[in-house]
Symmetry: none
Subunit: 149 residues, 2 copies
């Protein structure tokens, strides 16, 4: 009986060795990114928002630029980071919802364009947004808290 | 005398009215962007930096993202904003200078890519930078202070 038990133990040991072997070869595979100072348990939300005068971001200079971080707390150089984060959360991160001009707004059709951009990350997803307001009146009506800086 | 004084007062009122009139007609011309809370006298530098695993930013998820503002002072969610801004200034804002791996660095040729990105504005100019390190060893050698987060 002892011999049989020993055989089982040996078998178990070999099986275990096999498992360890598999583990070792797995760790030789692609190494993950080393732990970071700011390793987070939440999806990152970090943005740069800009305002510039012109038809498009490619052509317009940057007049003002601010940063906005919404997780774990609202912060950044945005003058109202809390308000901007709240508005973005309410819009589900859809910038078009922010810049849509409410019905009942009356502006002239003057063409004096202002470009706003948002780049970075919203809840872990890359963002590259650009919107052109035809003139300052439309911008005033559509900038929301997000582009109020 | 009272009449004359009244006449002068009327003239002054008319002159003042004229000035007001000029002011009004001028404001009908293209209106500049209204004064901002954070109107700056310096060219803005505001960035979002990301790290993700994958071949390219389009394909890679975002694992970490931080903001970095360098003017008027170094700030943001970057763990070493001062160091990162100093390195960027020394490189003249050229991100390729940051991510170039120094000669004498030895890494395996393993393909386990990590993508770093920088988006936003550096000294008033738009930035959209992406660089792929072949593996964590190359990233360690080329991330500098800027991509150390």
């Amino acid at each position: 009986m002892r011999y049989v038990t020993g055989g089982i133990a040996l078998g178990a040991a070999l099986a275990l060795g096999g498992l360890v072997g598999i583990g070792t070869s797995a760790s030789a595979a692609p190494t993950p990114i080393p732990p970071a100072h700011t390793q987070s348990l939440y999806a990152p939300s970090a943005l740069v928002l800009t305002v510039g005068q012109g038809d498009s971001a490619a052509q317009a200079g940057v007049q003002r630029a601010v940063t906005l971080t919404c997780t774990p707390k609202a912060t950044g150089s945005h003058p109202d980071a809390s308000g901007a984060c709240a508005q973005l959360r309410a819009a589900g991160g859809d910038f078009d919802k922010i810049t849509t001009i409410k019905s009942g707004t009356f502006c002239t059709r003057e063409w004096n364009p202002i470009v706003v951009t948002a780049q970075g990350v919203w809840e872990g997803k890359r963002v590259s947004y650009e919107h052109t307001f035809a003139n300052p009146c439309e911008m005033k009506a559509g900038k929301g808290t997000v582009f109020e800086f």
